[in-house]
Point group: C2
C-alpha cells in the first residue's frame, strides 16, 4: 500500500463505519448509477428528451453491464451521451471488479489474518501477495485487450465509416464486448455483421476473455500447463469450452430451418449466426440474429445460458459457471453414492457447495418473484416476461420484446433485478461463514426428502 | 414376518437378483401400467375405441396418480373402465407406498443391520419395530379414511344421483382425492361443486390427509403434542399450513376480479374457489375452477406448488415439501453465517441436505429436458408446455390445454415425466451414501462461486 492510498483511507475514515465490502460495492454501484442518470438526462446527451425513469433505466442497464434498453441507443443518444454510456460500462464493469479486489487489500490492514484469508477466498484471489499485482494488472490488461479489440474491429469499421467514426465504433463495441455490456450503436444490434468473420471472431474473443474471469486470465499468463492451473481455472476453461460447444451446436440444429432466424441464410452465415448466438447470451447479450425470432426450444436454452452467466471475477452477472458446475458435480457424487465431491483430484469443500446452493436458491427466488410481479403488471406472454427477467438477472441484455413495452412499475422491477444480478451473487460469495456463536450442538433431527 | 410371506419370498427367490428396492418399485409400477393398459384397451372399458397409446397414457396417468387425460374420462370410460381406473389409482397410490415399506422388512432379513438402518432411513420409517405395524396400518387406515370420505360425499351425491350412482361417485372421488389422483368423473372436473361446502371440505380433507405422508399420520395417532413429534412431522405440519394459507390468500387476491375465474362469483364462492385452487394443485390436481382461465401470476404460483408436491411417504409426486423446506432452511442458515442447519432445535444432517439438493437438481434437469423436447415437438405456447410438464412431474394432473393436443411423441415424453415424478424422487431418497471405496483423501481445491 502506498502513502497516498493510506492518506485517502484516513481521509475517508473507514473505521467510523461498520464497513463491509459488499455493502460498499453496492453503494458504489448505486452512486455510479445516480451520476449516470444525471448525465444521461442532460439535454446534450440525447437527440430528443427522455424521461427521468428512462435515464435511470439506461444508467442502471449500462452500469450493471446488462444492455437492456427501451429504445435504440445508437439513434437516441448523441455522441456525448454515447461516451457517457461507454464510461458507465467501463466503470460498472472492470471498475467495480477492480475496486472489489482493491478494497480487500485496504481492509486487510484492519482485520485479522483469518478474516483476511476468508475475504480473499470470498473474492477469489489466490494469494495475499498477489492481490496488489492483480488489481493493477486488471486495469492495464483490460485496456490493452480493449485496444487490441478496437484494432481488429477497425479493419471492418474504418473502411465502412472512415477513420474517426470507424475507430470510435471499434472502441465502443470492443468495450461493450469485453465488459459484457450488450450495447451496440447499430440498429438491430450487431445483425449487420452476422456473417462477418472479423467482427464475429473479434467480438467472441472479447466476450470470452472478459467472461472467463480475471483470476483465470492471470493464471493463464503465468502458466500454460493445464495441470498447474487451480481447480477454479480448470473448471472454468473446460466448462466454457463444453457449454459453448453444446450451445452453438444446439442453436445450429434447432434454428437450421427456422425462417425467422437461420433458415434463409447461406450455410456459412448459418454457422456464424449459431456461433454468435450460442456464445453471446451467457452474459454479453450482443446479438447478430433477432432473439425474438428464435424457436421456443432455443429460447429455453438461451434462458438457461443467461441464468448461468460467465465466470467469477468477470464483469458478468448470473450465478456464474463454476456455481453451476459445482452443483452438477455434487449431483454426480450423490448418484455414485460418494460423500466427497472430487473434481480433477481436488476435493470441493462442503462450505463451497453450501454457498453455491444458497446463491442458486436465492437467485431463483429473486427471478420468480420478479416474474410474478411482472405477470401482475405487464400484458405480455409468460415466456417474454421470463426471458426479460432472466436476461436482467444474468445482466445478459437480450430481449424478445418486453423492454420496449414495460410499464413504469415493470421498469423498476427490471432495474432491481439488474442491480441484484450484478451485486447479489458477488455479495453472497463475499459472505463468510462464522463459527456458530452458540455453543449448543443440537441433536440430529429426522427429516425425509423425496 | 409370517410363514406365508417367507414362502412367497423363497418362491420369488430374490437372492438370485442383485435386488434393489427402487428398481423393484419401478418394475412393479411398470407392470401395473402394462396390466392397466391391457385392461383399458378392452372394448368393454370404453364407450368408443381408444388407441393403444391413449390406453397406455391413461394407465400411466392413473397408476402414477397424476390425472392428466387427453379426453373426458367420465364420458369415455364405461363403468368397467372406471373401476379399472379406480383400482389403478389405489394400487399405484397406496399400494406402491405400502409395498415400498413392506419390502424393506423382507429385505431386512438379508442385509446387515447397518444397511437396514440406512434403508429404513431412506424409506423414512422411524424405527425398525414400527415397520410391520406401519404397513398393515397404512392399508387399513387408508380404507377407513376412504370410506369416511365416501360417507360425507354421499350427503351430496346420493340426493343428486340416487343410492347406487351416488355412493359409487362418492367412493371414486374419495379414492381419487386421498390418492392425489386428480381424476374426476364429472365433465369440467369438480367445477359443478365449486361453492359446495360438503364437497370442498371433504375433498380438501382427503387431499390433505393423503398428502401429508403416512409416517406423519402414524405419529399424529400416537401423540397430539407438537413437541413430541419428529422433526419431519413438525416441518410437514407447519409447512403445509403455511404454504396452503399463502397460496389460498394469493389466489383469492390475484383472481378476485379475473372474469375467467373468480370474477363473476359471489364472495362465498370466490372463497371456496380460492380455497380449493390454493390447496389442490400441490399434488391432487382436482379443480373447481378451470386452470386455463387463471392469470399468469396464478399459473406461476400453481406451477411452483405442483413442483414442490406434498409429503414424503404420501402417494404424491414432486420434490416433496420437506425437500423444499430443507433448502429454504439451508439458505437462511447461510445468510445468518451459521454452519449447521437447525430447525426446531434439531440439526439437519449434511447428507440430508446433499440429498435434497440432488433431488431438486435432477428434477429440474428432467423438467427442463422435457420442456425442451416438447418445445421441439408441439405447437403450444411456452407456458402451456411448462405447466404440462411440471404437472406431470408433480403428478398433479392439472392442465391448461396441452394434454388434449399432444403429439404421439409429446404423450411419450409426458408419460416418462409422470413415471419419473412418481418414482424418481423416491428412488433418489432410497439411495444410500456409501463410504468412499477409495481411501485417497484429495486435497481441497480452490473453486469460486457467484
Ligand atoms: K450484457
Ligand atoms: K394428481
Amino acid at each position: 500500500m502506498t502513502q497516498s492510498t493510506k492518506k485517502i483511507l484516513s481521509a475517508l475514515d473507514l473505521k467510523r463505519f461498520k464497513f463491509s465490502p459488499p455493502l460498499f460495492l453496492s453503494l458504489l454501484l448505486f452512486v455510479i448509477i445516480v451520476i449516470g442518470t444525471l448525465l444521461l438526462k442532460l439535454p446534450v446527451s440525447t437527440k430528443h428528451p427522455i424521461s427521468w425513469l428512462d435515464a435511470l433505466f439506461l444508467s442502471t442497464s449500462a452500469s450493471t453491464v446488462t444492455g437492456l434498453s427501451p429504445f435504440d441507443t445508437g439513434q437516441t443518444f448523441t455522441f456525448f451521451g454515447q461516451i457517457v454510456l461507454m464510461l458507465l460500462i467501463q466503470v460498472g464493469g472492470i471498475g467495480i471488479m477492480a475496486f472489489a479486489v482493491f478494497f480487500v487489500i485496504l481492509l486487510g490492514k484492519k482485520v485479522s489474518i483469518r478474516q483476511r484469508q476468508l475475504m480473499q477466498e470470498a473474492l477469489n484471489v489466490p494469494s495475499i501477495g498477489g492481490v496488489i499485482r492483480l488489481v493493477s494488472w486488471i486495469l492495464i490488461f483490460s485496456f490493452v485487450i480493449e485496444l487490441i479489440g478496437t484494432f481488429f474491429l477497425a479493419f471492418r469499421f474504418v473502411p465502412e465509416f472512415g477513420w474517426g467514426k470507424g475507430l470510435y465504433y471499434g472502441l465502443f463495441h470492443s468495450i461493450s464486448g469485453f465488459n459484457q455490456a450488450g450495447f451496440s450503436l447499430f440498429p438491430g444490434n450487431m445483425s449487420r455483421y452476422l456473417g462477418d468473420p472479423i467482427v464475429n471472431l473479434t467480438m467472441i474473443m472479447m466476450i470470452t476473455l472478459g467472461g472467463i474471469g480475471f483470476t483465470v486470465l492471470a493464471e493463464l499468463l503465468s502458466t500454460h500447463r493445464y495441470r498447474k492451473l487451480s481447480l477454479h481455472a480448470q473448471v472454468m476453461i473446460t466448462g466454457t469450452l463444453i457449454i459453448n460447444a453444446v450451445a452453438v451446436l444446439a442453436i445450429f440444429i434447432i434454428e437450421y430451418a427456422n425462417s425467422n432466424t437461420l433458415g434463409p441464410l447461406s450455410l456459412g452465415d448459418k454457422f456464424w449466426g449459431a456461433f454468435f448466438q450460442g456464445i453471446s447470451p451467457r452474459t454479453a447479450g450482443l446479438t447478430t440474429i433477432d432473439p425474438s425470432g428464435l424457436s421456443q426450444a432455443s429460447l429455453l436454452l438461451t434462458m438457461l445460458m443467461m441464468f448461468i452467466g460467465a465466470g467469477s471475477t468477470s464483469t458478468s452477472g448470473g450465478i456464474k459457471l463454476t456455481t453451476f458446475m459445482i452443483i452438477i458435480a455434487q449431483v454426480f457424487t450423490f448418484l455414485k453414492g460418494r460423500r466427497e465431491v472430487v473434481i480433477n483430484k481436488r476435493t470441493v469443500n462442503h462450505q463451497v457447495i453450501v454457498r453455491a446452493v444458497s446463491i442458486i436458491s436465492i437467485s431463483v427466488i429473486v427471478v420468480l418473484l420478479a416474474v410474478f410481479l411482472l405477470c401482475l403488471s405487464e400484458q405480455q406472454p409468460f415466456v417474454v416476461i421470463l426471458f426479460e427477467v432472466i436476461s436482467a438477472f444474468g445482466t445478459a441484455g437480450e430481449s424478445i420484446g418486453a423492454t420496449a413495452h414495460l410499464s413504469a412499475f415493470g421498469k423498476i422491477v427490471i432495474m432491481c433485478v439488474m442491480f441484484f444480478g450484478k451485486v447479489g451473487p458477488l455479495t453472497l460469495a463475499f459472505s463468510v461463514t462464522k463459527r456458530s456463536h452458540v455453543d449448543i450442538r443440537y441433536p440430529d433431527g429426522e427429516i425425509y426428502t423425496g
